[in-house]
């Protein structure tokens, strides 16, 4: 059997599977978005009116606002902490491998499990600590307040996903040759200066990957919210995927939420393309 045939044999099934399980549902979703389907029973085509309704629907708009606010803040938090921890874990500390393992652990856990654990911490443990110390801001659960609930989700998601960013940054740091650092030292560069002019520009490709991957992941946030707040209080933490799931499936808005998911798909693609294009320009090649 020739090499070519084997490659073909490997690719064709994947293309077929991808088409069946990804492209076909996408297209059926688009067709449903033009109907008033509830997900069962009869339905009729209503043109683009689902799409027009989306832009005036308060619950849809507020879920977009929450999702973007959440994704941007979490991306910043995760990348800042990720770089700092990667620098620490890349230096010559004792038990380096052990710490790397510890920091990676949260990433292996499922989002639901992490959510339930943090739910317990936020609802029972922190308030009792807050009450004991007499701190008003801690004495009630942050998840129970519509203004602060989103920060609880940021903390939980950041705690879990920072591991992946650390991993990428560590591998990035290891690609930087040590002789550049030696040269910088000889020129008398301060460590802050070295970080900004050498480490950071050379980490840029990894920064791009992290930014795109984490932004995309955070825009799709679902499990942690499901287990932390269920979208509440007062829908203040309903992310877009949460809204599509809840209202589309149990809320009987199948057609309408299909339209929402089509729009959402386009937005995510646009953001990813934008990030890749803009950030690629800033990267430095050695």
């Amino acid at each position: 059997m020739s090499r070519k045939k084997i490659f073909l044999l490997m690719t064709v099934p994947l293309v077929v599977i991808f088409f069946l399980f990804d492209t076909v549902p996408l297209l059926t979703g688009f067709v449903y978005s033009l109907t008033n389907s509830k997900g069962f029973g009869t339905f009729r085509f209503i043109g683009l009116s689902n799409y027009f309704r989306l832009f005036t629907d308060g619950s849809v708009l507020s879920s977009y606002w929450f999702t973007f606010k959440f994704a941007v803040v979490t991306t910043v938090v995760v990348n800042v902490i990720g770089i700092l921890l990667a620098l620490a874990l890349n230096s010559n500390v004792k038990f380096k491998t052990f710490f790397r393992g510890i920091y990676f652990l949260p990433y292996v856990l499922g989002g639901l499990i992490v959510g339930y654990i943090f739910n317990y911490i936020f609802t029972f443990m922190l308030p009792s600590v807050g009450k004991a110390l007499g701190w008003v801001f801690l004495s009630s659960s942050i998840l129970g307040n519509a203004n602060t609930a989103w920060t609880g989700i940021v903390i939980t998601v950041a705690w879990q996903s920072v591991a992946f960013n650390i991993l990428i940054y560590i591998s990035g740091l290891q690609t930087i040759p040590t002789d550049i650092y030696e040269a910088a030292k000889m020129d008398g560069s301060s460590s802050w200066n070295t970080f900004w002019t050498i480490t950071f520009p050379l980490l840029a490709p990894f920064f791009t990957i992290n930014l795109v991957v984490s932004m995309r992941n955070f825009l799709m946030v679902f499990d942690q919210i499901m287990s932390l707040t269920g979208g509440g209080p007062a829908s203040s933490t309903t992310s877009i995927s949460m809204l599509i799931y809840q209202n589309g499936l149990s809320g009987n808005q199948f057609g309408y939420q299909s339209a929402n998911s089509v729009i959402y798909f386009i937005i995510i693609v646009a953001i990813s393309v934008f990030q890749l294009k803009v950030l690629n320009k800033r990267e430095v090649q050695l």
């Binding site: 509830k38 069962f40 129970g144 209080p233 009987n252």
Partner: protein, 416 residues
């Protein structure tokens, strides 16, 4: 050397494919001879009860195998099953709009003229018609529920408290407890559906029954009716444990079970869970005193509706199962284990723990749960939560409700 390795790889791939095919075949083939039917219920808490009923049924009918599914997120699971075209044979749903949605979508067999309905007390049959807003009935009202104020009898006796009959008495009781540093009510409003347990008796007693006949023509007509129930709903929050949106149904239920509050706003369905947490608890239930001077009605709804799938291939077997579930012995077993209320003419017993609501039930002084009358798409629980969280005015609440209803019931809408 290279050739032989290739052969091994092909053998492994072939074996994997064969195994996959075999497992699909194994799942597809029924395990037993005879017919196999599926019973789907939306009550995961009743899994053990239904399984023991099924075991009894299978013993009587060795040719019929019954598979039970009682998933956690039942409505979503059922919807995916409908989409796949694999509708269960006998389906038990709550007597609410989800059931009506499917009945309208022509998923269930029409039972309007079925003699099986004759054994049910007429008020529940009438309730079914009211629910479906039509003269056609697509399910049997298998059991009823009642909700009100669950109270800890031991704590009440210790403090020498009497059961309040009116709203002012209720508030006075709460104030007295609060002044003593005790928690009158434990509210688990993180799960927005629990807010309805306070809203239902308030709305059911303080609003005109007409207001719940929700159609495109009546949108906005009864806005003023919402003032009083919503105000009292907000007032209740003062007598809670505080921070009510941080605790969910399970938190609140186990707190009440462990004596952390004197009262708890829930229905009879919460009793099994409470007793599971604290088997020794001595609890009772009284009617929520929503009215200022006159006695209030109890809130009672249809707890579970059994419908037969229109597409079932085993109608006779399914019918047999339904008849078995309605036979006196199995029916009483269900009532006893689930603390449920009878809808049958022939069974007239009530669980002891709800004795204080029984006079209302016997006299028919009941109101149907308002929550069952709002379209599913409106998501009234989350609107109630927003009203409380954001300190909204009644006007904001009704405006939002009306614009939602316009979308749902209007010409472009998904429904009606």
């Amino acid at each position: 050397m290279k050739k032989s390795r290739q052969i091994y790889i092909w053998i492994i791939i072939a074996a994997a494919v064969l195994m996959a095919l075999f497992s699909i075949w194994a799942v597809r083939t029924p395990k037993k001879k005879g017919v196999s039917i599926e019973l789907f219920v939306f009550k995961p808490e009743a899994t053990a009860t239904f399984q023991s009923l099924i075991n009894g049924f299978e013993k009587q009918n060795p040719n019929i195998h019954v598979e039970l599914s009682a998933p956690g997120d039942a409505y979503t699971v059922l919807k995916t099953r409908m989409v796949k075209g694999r509708v269960p044979d006998l389906i038990g749903l709550g007597g609410e709009q989800y059931y009506v949605d499917y009945a309208k979508a022509d998923v269930f067999r029409n039972l309007t003229h079925d003699p099986i309905l004759k054994q049910f007390s007429s008020s529940y049959v009438a309730n079914m018609k009211f629910l479906e807003k039509s003269s056609q009935i697509h399910g049997v009202p298998y059991a009823a529920n009642v909700s009100g104020v669950l109270y800890n009898k031991t704590l009440f006796e210790k403090s020498g408290l009497k059961i309040p009959q009116t709203w002012p008495e209720f508030i006075a009781l709460c104030q007295k407890l609060k002044a003593e540093g005790k928690t009158p009510l434990y509210l688990g409003y993180k799960d927005d559906w629990t807010i309805q347990q306070a809203f239902n008796p308030l709305a059911g007693n303080l609003m005109k029954a007409r207001a719940f006949n929700i159609t495109a023509a009546t949108i906005g007509k009864y806005d003023a009716e919402y003032n009083r129930p919503l105000q009292k709903l907000r007032q209740l929050g003062q007598y809670s444990q505080g921070d009510v949106f941080s605790y969910n149904y399970n938190d609140a239920t186990s707190a009440f079970a462990n004596g952390k509050s004197y009262m708890y706003l829930q229905g009879n369905w919460a009793i099994p869970l409470i007793k599971q947490v604290n088997p020794k608890i001595n609890l009772g239930m009284f009617t929520f005193p929503a009215n200022n001077s006159k006695p209030s009605k109890s809130v009672s709804g249809i707890d579970i509706v059994f419908s037969i799938s229109k597409k079932t291939k085993h109608y006779a077997a399914t019918r047999k199962l339904l008849t078995y579930l309605l036979a006196k012995q199995s029916y009483q077993k269900y009532l006893k284990q689930q603390f449920a209320l009878s809808t049958l003419k022939k069974v007239n017993t009530y669980p002891a723990s709800i004795s204080d609501v029984v006079p209302n039930l016997r006299k028919g002084r009941i109101t149907m749960s308002p929550q069952y009358m709002y379209p599913t798409e409106l998501q009234i629980p989350s609107m109630l939560q927003a009203y409380l969280v954001n300190h909204e005015k009644t006007k904001t609440f009704t405006n939002q409700m009306n614009s939602g209803l316009k979308n749902i019931l209007g010409p472009e809408g998904d429904g009606e």
